[in-house]
Every structure is written in C-alpha cells, then in structure tokens.
C-alpha cells in the first residue's frame, strides 16, 4: 500500500463511526421531531413547544441551570484560587478529582439520607436552633446537589488558567501600587476568563438536561428539559415531542457555545 492509501484507510473506520453515531442520530432526531404519535408528518410538535407549559418549563430549566452555574462559579473560583496557593497542590487536586470518580447516582443517593427528615443536615439545623426543615424534594436540594456534582468541573479549568498566569504580572501590579483587590480585579480575573468560560460551559450545558437528580431528590417539583425528554421517550412514549424538545435544546446549546466563544479549549480534559 502506498503512503496515501494508508492515510485514506484511517479515514474509513473513523468516518463510518462519525456517520453512524454522530451524523445519523442527529438526522433521525430532527426527522422524528416532525412526526406525530401515529407517525404522520406534522408541525404540531413545534407548535406545542410554544405553548405556555413548555415555555415555562424551558424558562425554569434555563433559570435553574443559570443558578447552578452561578453558585458553582462563586464557590469554585475561590476554591481554585486558594488551591493554587497551597503547598501540596497535586495532592489537593487529587482530592478534588477523587469524588468525580464516584458514581454520580451514588452521590445523589447519599443526599436522600443527608437531607432526610432525620438526616445529618437536619440535625445540624436543629443544633443551630433553626429546627428541622423539609429539605428533600425542594428547589434548594436540587440546586445544592447539582452544584455539589458539578463543582469539580468548574474548579479544574479555572485552576489550569490560574496556573498558566505568570506570577510576574501579579508582582508587577503590586509593585506599581495596586491593592490586592485591584490586582485581582484588573489583572488576575481578566486573564483567567478563559477558564471561567470553560467552567461555565462545562456546568451549564449538563445542568440544562439533568433528569436523574430531579427524579431522585427534587421529587417532581423541578422539571427540566432533560426530565421532559426522558418523560416523553421512556414514559409517555411520545417520541416526536421528546425529539422536538431535544432539537430545541441542541439549538439553544449551539447558541450558547457560539456566544461564549472558544473558551472550552483551555479547560480541555
């Protein structure tokens, strides 16, 4: 075989994978979204997306994803910042990554116990004099558990961005008389924006489509787009509607990725 034949040969198996598992599923999803329950062509699915029920669900979904991303960022940035300042950086980083290897469902399941009526969280609240509260099956537990799950995905890219920041820039700012806060605001934060963007993308997109967390700890109080897709595909068997929501979600995501630019690169795994 000639050199060129070899090179083209590599493209065949990889190309087959691309067509079968990347292109075809998207095409089928779009195709299915134009079918009604009986398999006839219709635009009714797209019409029902614009009814108040679905619009409200979408608004909620985006609102919760935004909230989860914001809280993750507010907690994650200082975590990443101080992680870079610790002496045993690699060890701390390992400790941060370790929970990522624990099955997501087990972590969610743990909160069934922690947030239960007699769980640790309520015992703490009691000790503080607040008294037991209903924690499970509330919006609070949904946001808390989601942030808990996603925080490492926020911390890692920010940590990488902070590590790549030359310390001489910070020294220069301080030498020129900038306060610690000004240095952070004008030098450190702008230069780590790439990491922040990557982290936000890594949290926001999955947060839009979670369904197991809503099912397990949020009762059915919080319905996200992910829950709706799962519901339509696996419970009510209305695949057309499920596919339509999936298509809408994909378009929304593409818009987000384009708007936030190519920040993803910096946080690549």
């Amino acid at each position: 075989m000639t050199e060129r034949a070899w090179r083209n040969w590599y493209l065949i198996p990889y190309g087959i994978w691309l067509v079968l598992f990347v292109v075809a599923p998207i095409v089928f999803l779009v195709y299915e979204s134009f079918l009604d329950l009986d398999g006839h062509w219709t635009l009714s699915n797209y019409k029902s997306v614009w009814t108040p029920i679905y619009l409200k669900m979408m608004a909620y979904s985006f609102w919760y994803a935004f909230l989860i991303t914001l809280v993750s960022l507010l907690i994650g940035y200082p975590t990443a910042y101080w992680l870079t300042k610790t002496r045993h950086k690699q060890l701390w980083l390992l400790l941060l990554i370790l929970p990522m290897w624990v099955n997501l469902l087990l972590k969610v399941y743990a909160f069934l116990g922690l947030f239960g009526t007699y769980g640790l969280a309520n015992a703490l609240l009691k000790a503080l004099g607040v008294g037991p509260r209903q924690l499970l099956f509330t919006d609070f537990s949904f946001v808390f558990v989601s942030v808990y799950i996603f925080i490492p995905f926020m911390v890692l890219p920010i940590f990488n961005a902070l590590e790549e920041l030359p310390p001489s820039l910070v020294d220069a700012a301080r030498d020129l008389g900038a306060s610690a806060w000004t240095t952070f605001r004008r030098v450190v934060f702008p230069l780590t924006l790439g990491g922040v963007k990557a982290g936000c993308q890594a949290v926001f997109i999955p947060a839009l489509s979670l369904f197991m967390i809503t099912r397990l700890v949020a009762g059915n109080r919080v319905i996200t787009l992910g829950t709706a897709i799962e519901q339509h595909f696996l419970v009510t068997q209305n695949w057309g509607m499920g596919a339509t929501i999936a298509v809408v979600l994909m378009i929304a995501m593409a818009v987000i990725v384009v708007l936030t630019g190519s920040g993803r690169k910096e946080g690549s795994r």
Partner: protein, 267 residues
C-alpha cells in the same frame, strides 16, 4: 499575606468537608444495623452479606465490567485510528470540521445522546440490550480517546518518522515500531478514560438498555427510586474501594508516561 492564607485554608477545608461528607456518610451507614441512614444503632456486616448473596447483582456487575472492558478496548482502537486520520488530513479546514464532529458527542448532554441512540437502534432494528448498550458505550468513548491521543501525535517530531522511512521502514513498520510506542502512554490514558466513562455512565445506558439487561448504574437508580436501602450503601462502599484501585492504576500508568493525563496542568 499571612491572613489571606489563613482564610484560604479554612475555606478550602470547608469546601472539601462538604465534598466528602456524602461519600463518608454513605459508607458509615453501610455498617448500621438499624436499616436507615440515621440513628446508628450497632455495627453489622449484614448489608454486605445481602449484596454478596443477591443473585441478580453478580450478573449485573459482570455485565458492567464486560461492557466497560469491551467498549473501552474497541473505542481505543477506533480512537487511535481516528486520531491518525485527523493527524494525516492536510487541509486545515477539513481537520477542523472533523474535530468539530468529533466533539459533538462530548459536548452533547447525555439525555440527547441517549434519546438519539434509542432512535438510531429502533430505526436500525437493533434489539435493545447488550448490543445496543455496548455500541453506545463504544460510540461515546471514541471521541475521548481521540482527544487524548491527538495532542501527543501533534507533539511527535516528524523527523522521527522521516528517519525511520529513510532507513527503509514500511508504513506498517513505522506505525508499529515508532508511532504506536511513542503514543503508548496516551493510548493507555485514553483506554482508562473510556473505561471510567463506561463504568460511570447512567443516562445513555438508561435510554438504550431495554428490559432484561441492566448495568450497575441503572440498577442503583431503580433501587434508589424505591427509597433508602442500606444494601445500596454497602454496594457503594465496595464500588468506591474498587474505583480507588482503578485510580491508583491509572496514576501509576500515567506517571510512567511522565505526565498526568486528564487532570490539570496538561501542558
């Protein structure tokens, strides 16, 4: 400066305490004879015995492991071929297009991947079960392997290949004698990543699993939906220990390659 450090340390400790509480909590109550995740009564190994004597679980564990190993192996081979394919493409635009397509499955949410694969298998007439789960796991692991191998490939000095070719090596000899050994650490890292993605996956599997076939994640979900049962805690403790073994293996392997893949400081 000293003050910020003090604050920073307390903050980090608080964050890490919250991160580890649920995991420790799960494991702690797996030894509770009381049967609930509160009010520790007395130490027992009953739940572990339950897990080990359950007659469905061994099959499910076996399913999970077979799927993980098989899908990781096939995905690694496909991923390496894919990385080579992208590497050899000359035109930058084609290259970027291929990379963009490659990343579709990485950025898509699991629910969409699951739903679209369910459609794919239904239209293609593939029965839901072992085959569909295996194919999906291969499919979503391939791009991860590509992303782990490709940077290493780009890093490789072209003079290495030129030298081998000048000395009369055929393409196959260059590949097996020069390129693949050079890529070995990243190939292993890709394999391990694929393995963990497969072991960890719930959402995609949940969609394409059908009746009668189950992996651990799906089983945990259906049990957890019925409420608290301490045998899940026992199971999770066992899984955690197993994961630790995997992590250690992964670190030993990636240390050998002189770098830590998949975590910070890749450059």
């Amino acid at each position: 400066m000293k003050r910020t450090h003090w604050w920073g340390r307390v903050y980090l400790l608080a964050v890490f305490a919250v991160m580890y509480t649920p995991i420790v909590y799960l494991m702690y109550y797996s030894f509770n004879s009381g049967g609930a995740m509160h009010d520790f009564q007395s130490f027992t190994l009953k739940w572990y015995r339950d897990v080990l004597s359950d007659d469905r679980l061994p099959i499910i564990v076996l399913n999970t492991i077979v799927i993980a190993l098989l899908s990781a192996a096939v995905a690694t081979i496909l991923g390496v071929i894919g990385a080579l394919a992208i590497y050899y493409v000359k035109r930058q635009r084609t290259k970027n297009a291929l990379l963009a397509l490659n990343n579709v499955l990485i950025v898509s949410p699991d629910v969409i991947i699951g739903a679209s694969f369910l459609l794919l298998f239904t239209i293609a007439g593939i029965k839901l079960g072992f085959t569909s789960v295996l194919l999906s796991h291969i499919a979503f692991s391939v791009p991860i392997v590509v992303l782990m191998v490709l940077p290493k490939l780009e890093e490789m000095s072209p003079t290495l290949i030129d030298a081998a070719r000048d000395l009369g090596a055929s393409h196959w000899q260059v590949l097996s004698g020069v390129v693949l050994p050079f890529l070995a650490p990243s190939i292993w890292a890709g394999f391990f990543m694929a393995l963990t993605y497969s072991l960890d996956d719930f959402a995609v599997t949940f969609f394409v699993t059908g009746n009668g076939f189950s992996t651990l994640s799906v089983e945990i979900y259906s049990r957890a939906r019925q409420g608290i049962s301490l045998s899940i805690n026992a199971l999770s403790t066992l899984l955690f220990l197993f994961t630790m073994l995997l992590v250690i293996g992964y670190y030993v392997l990636s240390r050998k390659g002189g770098r830590l893949y998949g975590i910070g400081g890749r450059k």
